[in-house]
Subunit: 142 residues, 2 copies
DNA sequence: CTGCTTGCAAAGGCTTTGCAGAACA
DNA sequence: TGTTCTGCAAAGCCTTTGCAAGCAG
């Protein structure tokens, strides 16, 4: 296992702190995966992450990518976005926001909270509580 | 292949007409699947449909259920609902509406259009057009 | 008859898991 | 040194596909 020579925008110390804040023991693989995701808000599948990290040298295995992403979700570091039956997207933007999903390109992009006004939410079913509201605007090329 | 002795609420003639209106050649299997879905608004996975139809006698094969559901989606008879990475739900309610998804029970239920007020939609990305807006309120048992 | 449909079994794609070796504290 | 983590390969799950037999018109 070789580390990438240089970390991106978010430096290693920041990534380490972020992981620790979420009670995630930082290992080299976890730092790499977190760095990729946290560099900027993006929507990557497990396979995207695997491909990007191993572009030069093998850095991380498929099993570890999946295990790590599940850990990150569990610890609230990233969110799953379910818009395509074939793959799960992992979203490092944990602010309240929504998504455009381009069915032609498979590209997912953010809609900021302020850009949508949602009023008049319905009553929840008995004995349930809301976890979150997902809004996906499906679009296609014109 | 044996047909079920009695069709549910929506009678066979209505189902046949509905299929024809959607330019779907009615076969015995398609009528069975459509009957199940169109009896009432419901959210079934391919596996649910397979299990329910074959409860007594083998009526339809797995391959045909999948092929038929894809055909129904293509022809606009039902809609896919993607909320769970493990399976696709097929929704026979084609009116404008939204969903509650109970992550504890895996149960999907409808929210009528009037119960949500959505204003102020964001600008679409360049050269794209909207296909639809999906809203899923994720809930859990309290 | 002729083309479309069905069903079986095999294949595919994404994700999870078992387990042995490696890393970490 | 004990625990946790990693990685390989195998297994699992849902869905699709190839192809021969069956059905519809």
């Amino acid at each position: 296992m070789k580390l990438l020579p240089n970390l991106p925008l978010l430096d290693r110390v920041q990534v380490l702190n972020t992981l620790r804040q979420h009670y995630i023991t930082p290992t080299q693989q976890r730092v790499e995966i977190a760095s990729l995701l946290l560099t900027q808000y993006q929507h990557l599948s497990a396979d995207d992450i695997l491909a990007q990290l191993n572009q030069r040298h093998p850095i991380v295995s498929k099993a570890t990518v999946y295990n790590t992403l599940n850990l990150f979700v569990e610890k609230g570091l990233v969110q799953q976005v379910i818009v395509d039956p074939n793959k799960i997207f992992y979203d490092s933007n944990t602010n309240k926001h929504y998504h455009f999903y381009n069915v032609d390109t498979g590209c997912l992009s953010d809609i900021e909270d302020e850009q949508v006004t949602l009023t008049h939410l319905p009553h929840l079913p008995e004995k349930t509580q809301a976890i979150g509201v997902d809004i996906v605007i499906r679009i296609r090329n014109r």
